[in-house]
Amino acid sequence: MKRVFLRALLVGLLAALLLSSGCARKPKVQRGDIEQSALATYVAPGDLDEYYLFYSGGQSGNIYVAGVPSLRHIATIPVFSPYPGNGYGFDKETKAMLGGYTWGDVHHPSMSETAGDYDGRWLFVNDNANNRVARVDLRDFKTKEILGPIPNISGNHGSSFVTPNTEYVLSASRFSIPLPKSTYKPIDQYATQYHGVVSGVAVDSKTGHLSLGWQILMPPFDFDLGSAGKLVSEGWAFWTSYNTERAIGKLEVTSTQKDRDYIAAVNWKAADGAIKAGKFKTLDGAKMIDPRDAPGVVYLVPCSKSPHGVDVTPDGKYFVCSGKLMGITTVFNFDKLQQAIQAKNFTGEEDGIPVVNYDAVKEAEVNVGLGPLHTQFDDKGYAYTSLFVESAVVKWKLGTWEVLDKVPVSYNIGHLSVPGGDTVHPEGKYVLALNKLSHGRHISVGPSQPESSQLIDITGEKMKLLSDAFTEPEPHYAQMIRADRLKPIEVYPQGENKNPNAIWDVKDAKVERNGNNVVVHMTAVRSSFTPTSFDVNQGDHVTIYLTNIEQTTDELHGFGLEEYNLQIVIDPGETKTIEFVANKPGVFAYYCTNFCSALHQEMQGYLLVKPKGGAVSAGMSHLPHTRRTQMAKLGLE
């Protein structure tokens, strides 16, 4: 009977989905409204946006940077995928960081925090596919570190949310597997022999360096998005889970049978304590806590079924969870959770983890609408929840729990983002709807449709849709920070370049041979490379240390090498290492790929690869005529 009801509900939801996405609704808009919205989002030539928007690029492996309110895409930060545009993944340093992977699934960018507020130092982001976490430095908007694949974590989706002082970046398994990795267990042993893991990746507070922190062995649920407690709930971390049925097969059906799934509530300070007390086993190099050995570290809180995330209110008093398949958002009271734990008000357990009494912890159930997913907060006590099925953003009030307003979006919203919307001090000016479908809202681009993002004004009583923008696959979550909070550098100061192979004068350029290794110290400056050519023997291992000796903003140079599949970009003051084996004989041009100056086209040189058999010593064979390179000649000949 219950099964039939659920089927009916599913069909109903499907119909709603089809209806909401199928018909392009064009609400009647007043001319005055259009003008107001246009003025609110227009950034005049030469003017600057008010906020940075960092949004995930999903399976592209990138993070995209846009300005708000214009929603103009400004830059791409490659993280988990090679990106020839910036030469990322072609030089030795970034290649090593990528570790051979050519893609990643970027999901949830998270800004580093101090006292629960964005501090603008780093941006962390997770790779759902290859179980990694990366750190982007917001001083230069560059990926600085990639940790992973993280041991024991499989499907790192519930990541990379940070604790209020960036002690940890959260990480969790979406796809439970037998542990450690490389273990085989038949799929029919899923319920008992497979495991989920929730984890904290430790962040060095000075350098941002990422390392394995604690891991907790969990039942084979699918762990989903998380959120860190703050203020009163500081020291706790929450994740939702689905498939608490421990089912296999078509999860669409098998994992949606129970009315409730769980929030995993982790006392990470207690986890820290358990590690210090030695209550862990080392599993594949990670410190794994078994909850049976360390009571008090983790609890399960029932929530409405198939949730996709949990969000903590700015005051830290409540944690909010929406079950996709029920039209309600549930608000839980952190104090009540503590009381229930004290009173051992439990209704069961899962693999030794107590299940807390739902009724004892629940504060309110808010009837938000169909397919609620994620919630963000503003500074006036309102919450904004995305409704995937209904394709809308709903506004409701904390405390009274009443639903106040709803605005349709186009279409099928996933995440949403308010500036500082996950911190202790949100700025309730905009909410950005990150939608999955966009058809009919833009001139058609064929079957591969982009996603859409929509900016909504939330300063008034009623939310107001301001503008549409279209985004590359695929924005999951985003972080918005006031522009004046970031102070990026635009030039790498010469004094900071500690690369021992950097050279700063064209006179210091040189080509040296040691056996089969040819080492080139090369400069790039408007509008020439030095040396302008060099000889090697086929089969030589070539290393080029390339320094852009410019100290002027925007004077980037590229280094493309024909038919050797190499494309490097060096920013002003930067040194990169290019390594390759010269296995193709012949003459190959290298040239500046990043337009730099009036004589950019002339910025070129030749790699001469002498076929095997001929004896050739490495050296410069061609001397150019400008004063600059004459100086180089003096130093080199």
Partner: protein, 226 residues
């Protein structure tokens, strides 16, 4: 003959009287006002050690805030910001027209200008102590010579940099001399060249010395016997 003698006898006493008057003038002691004025001039010279003597600013569409070059008594400085090193940038751009890079080591001025300024500080202190008009006049005359020489030298520098262009340069421009005072259009740049605080301080120095002379020229023997 007699005419000549007549002229001599007529002019002779006048010349003699003039020379005697001038000798008295140069012997004249300096009054308190003059000495204060000399001290003030000395203090006014100090900024010339620290502030630019000349400021050159190059504006273009790409550099709306202008590339700045500051010529100090003892050094050459470019505008510095986190995103730009103006001296390096100016040299980068100048290499396209084959201009010799501006580098401090090429300028002997940076040794002798501060030395001369120090010299004038000492001469001034000497005037105050010696307290004689002649010392003061010597200083002003020497300073005038120094000032004119420095200006001529600066002009020569501008001329040389603008005319000694590398014939192999990528962009051929007509030899030019940047203005000493004012602006000039060079390709996509508008170049403004104006004296800086240091130069104005030196002008002030000369004016205060002149004032010191005037003050004691009018003075009726306040010090010493007639």
């Amino acid at each position: 003959m007699s005419g000549q003698t007549a002229v001599l006898t007529a002019v002779g006493p006048a010349v003699e009287s003039f020379l005697v008057k001038e000798a008295r003038f140069f012997d004249r002691p300096l009054g308190l006002g003059s000495r204060i004025s000399i001290l003030a001039a000395t203090v006014l010279l100090l900024p010339a050690f620290f502030f630019p003597l000349y400021t050159m600013t190059l504006y273009s569409n790409q550099f709306p805030d202008g590339l700045n070059l500051y010529i100090h008594a003892g050094t050459l400085k470019g505008g510095q910001s986190a995103a730009r090193d103006d001296l390096r940038e100016i040299n980068s751009l100048n290499h396209y027209i084959g201009m010799h890079p501006l580098q401090e080591a090429d300028f002997t001025e940076f040794q002798w200008i501060p030395l001369m300024l120090g010299f004038f500080v000492i001469l001034n202190l000497r005037s105050v102590v010696v307290g004689k008009m002649s010392a003061l006049v010597d200083t002003l005359v020497l300073f005038g010579w120094f000032g004119l020489f420095a200006l001529w030298h600066f002009y020569d520098r501008l001329y040389t940099y603008g005319h000694n262009l590398d014939p192999t340069a990528a962009v051929k421009v007509k030899p030019f001399t940047p203005p000493m005072f004012g602006s000039q259009q060079m390709a996509n740049f508008t170049v403004f060249n104006y004296p800086g605080i240091g130069t104005y301080a030196m002008v002030g120095f000369a004016i205060l010395l002149a004032l010191a002379i005037l003050l004691s020229a009018r003075q009726k023997r306040a010090f010493g016997p007639s």
